[in-house]
């Protein structure tokens, strides 16, 4: 820092990616998008900049605060740089694609911008990748989303990610059963997010039995599939819990069963009410050892948009590709290459080069007058004349790696 700091310094939280990591990141991006495509998800490319009201449609104040804003000099309206691509993709589904019939599966990968840097990672421009399913309200689409998220994490190099699933219906149903109004729910919701049991007890002082006990158990209801049976036991008795709670537990059981069949274990946390404000219903996140925060998250957000006046069912997940790359341990693939003479300096090189490239080889021309050799250009072979043919022969590895 100080006087030496040049004008090329980047703003806080904004990063550039250099070789070879840029290549590694791009390889991961392609693999992830290919994986999504193999599951039937169509790639969409929402714009980087939109009218603010359209960008924030159906979302909460969190996203508003995270969105960079500028005034459009053409229309005089406020523009926002996307801070989250999910609402954009939901809008594309609702206004451009939605039709009666088959569900619509969409995926995306792109840079988003946050008004403020994340306090922990310091990042302001993550590369968001994600996949969403629209038009199917059943728990099966949630199972598919979690399954695809798991595959994405495997492809990024995480062997055994920990998947944590919750359901907002449990809290909402209990709150309805106990007749809590919004003002009473908010602090309880916040305390549950922190599993602050002493605080939860205080907040439940005026709540009648058995709702008080039922809420009291929520913070402790987390763990493996047995958690769901434990929950059913805790919620038993009179008066019965609202249908919404039963339905939520039913969804979670279906998820547990679905993954048991695949030989996978997912975990449950009934006090986990995560996500951005637009999520409701099933919510899930992935954790990996040695990292203090979730690395991918998703859930159901029915009704963010409407189609023909009806709330559109929606579920999906997203992650920051840079985080997946940094933590997943994937590194750019090894590559070789062929150093070829400049075409003007040797006959027939053109054709040889074209053939090599068509066969998938990386071929770099030696520019006339350049310094440095094959190794400097990451080439392990050199194109040399053999009679009337051009052949690629291995470049001997010199002691210092070929430099000089």
């Amino acid at each position: 820092m100080g006087a030496a700091a040049g004008p090329w310094l980047l703003p806080a939280g904004v990063e550039e990616v250099l070789p070879p990591d840029a290549r590694g990141l791009e390889e991961l991006r392609r693999d992830v998008v290919d994986l999504f495509s193999a599951w039937g998800y169509e790639l969409v490319m929402p714009p980087f900049l939109e009218y603010l009201d359209s960008l924030l449609l159906g979302t909460g104040p969190d996203l508003d605060l995270r969105t960079f804003k500028v005034t459009d000099q053409v229309s005089g309206r406020m523009l926002g740089v996307r801070a989250d691509m999910t609402p954009q993709v939901a809008r594309i589904d609702a206004h451009r694609l939605a039709r009666e019939g088959a569900p619509i599966r969409l995926c995306y990968a792109g840079t988003v911008l946050h008004a403020r840097a994340d306090r922990v990672s310091g990042a302001r421009s993550p590369v968001q990748v994600g996949a969403e399913i629209y038009g199917h309200a059943g728990v099966e689409s949630d199972i598919e989303a979690i399954g695809l998220m798991l595959e994405m994490l495997r492809s990024a190099g995480f062997e055994r990610p920990h998947i944590d699933v919750g359901h907002l219906g449990v809290f909402r149903g209990l709150a309805r059963g106990a007749a809590l109004d919004d003002a009473e729910q908010a602090p309880l919701f916040a305390a549950l997010q922190r599993k602050a049991e002493a605080e939860i007890d205080d907040l439940l002082q005026g709540v009648p039995a058995p709702w008080r006990e039922r809420f009291g158990h929520l913070a402790g209801l987390n763990g493996g599939p047995e958690t769901l049976d434990e929950a059913a036991g805790r919620f038993a008795g009179d008066p019965p819990v609202p249908e919404e709670v039963e339905a939520a537990l039913g969804d979670l059981r279906a998820i547990s069963e679905g993954f048991r069949r695949l030989g996978e274990t997912v975990h449950f946390d009934l006090a986990e009410l995560r996500g951005y404000r637009y999520h409701g219903g099933v919510g899930f996140a992935a954790f990996v050892p040695g990292h203090g925060r979730e690395i991918a998250r998703g859930g159901r957000y029915d009704g963010m948009t409407t189609v023909d006046g009806r709330p559109r069912p929606a579920t999906g997940f997203s992650a920051d590709l840079r985080t997946l790359y940094q933590l997943g341990g994937r590194r750019p693939g090894r590559r070789g290459g062929v150093l070829a003479p400049w075409p003007g300096e040797a006959d027939g090189v053109d054709r040889a080069v074209r053939e090599l490239r068509a066969a998938g080889e990386r071929v770099v021309h030696r520019l006339p007058g350049q310094s440095g050799g094959a190794r400097d250009l990451e080439c392990d072979r050199e194109l040399v004349r053999d009679g009337d043919r051009w052949v690629a022969v291995a470049v001997p590895v010199t002691g210092d790696g070929g430099h000089g």
């Binding site: 306090r119 922990v120 920990h162 944590d164 922190r194 599993k195 602050a196 049991e197 002493a198 605080e199 913070a219 987390n222 763990g223 975990h267 946390d269 954790f287 990996v288 050892p289 040695g290 990292h291 203090g292 925060r293 979730e294």
Partner: protein
């Protein structure tokens, strides 16, 4: 950023009064550092645990740093005062237990001979910038915050501030410096906090720790 060995627990403890009062609590829960944390100059201490229990190490920090360690996943659990947690710009952790130790109060204090609350804007000296800002904003008072790192009690006497926001245990320090509490902000005690990922990835070890400490804090439950 790995907190510890796969199954071990790293517990961050705030130094000073909280550490002194936490040692017996941890000991009763079966966690005893191999060296006396109050004597050693080491900041990382391995602890003796019951056979079959996951290894534990204690890291000794300034109270304000405990939430940071938790949030970055550099510690699985932490013991810090509620004041430090309220002052931290985030709450990305679980807070399962009020340990009931290191009790005190966060108050607004003024000079004993101070006339009624000044009208308009007031100047407040404190090291709890966020807490003070939030408190005065919620009561609709325009407050200019002067950040100090200690000896807040001086500020009202030298014209630096109209009020201070500080922790009060017995009130002796306030009295000795000619101040009196005028508003109560919050009751403070030490809390056990847990990193969210640790709670999930090291569920057995963390739940055991919480249960063992709860046993000491609320034997009735």
């Amino acid at each position: 950023m790995t907190a510890s060995a796969e199954e071990g627990l790293t517990i961050a403890v705030a130094k000073g009064r909280i550490l002194r009062e936490a040692i017996p609590l941890l000991a009763a829960a079966g966690i005893v550092a191999f060296e006396d944390p109050l004597e050693t100059r080491k900041l990382i201490l391995d602890a003796d645990v019951a056979p079959g229990r996951p290894p534990v190490r204690l890291v000794l920090l300034r109270a304000q740093d405990v939430p940071t360690y938790l949030e970055y996943g550099a510690a699985d659990a932490g013991i810090a005062g509620r004041d430090a947690l309220l002052e931290y710009p985030g709450e990305e952790w679980y807070e399962p237990l009020d340990l009931g130790i290191a009790r005190c109060r966060l108050v607004v204090a003024a000079r004993k001979d101070d006339p009624a609350a000044p009208s308009g804007s007031i100047r407040v000296a404190t090291k709890f910038e966020r807490i003070a800002r939030r408190h005065f904003a919620s009561s609709g008072v325009r407050a200019e915050i002067v950040k100090l790192y200690g000896s807040m009690e001086l500020a009202p006497h030298v014209g630096l501030a109209d009020r201070i926001v500080d922790l009060v245990a017995t009130g002796d320090t306030l009295r000795a410096n000619g101040l009196r509490p005028v508003e109560h902000i919050a009751d403070v005690s030490a809390r056990l906090i847990v990193n969210k990922a640790s709670m999930k990835m090291k569920a057995a070890a963390v739940k055991e720790l919480v249960a063992a400490l709860r046993e000491q804090v609320e034997p009735s439950r």
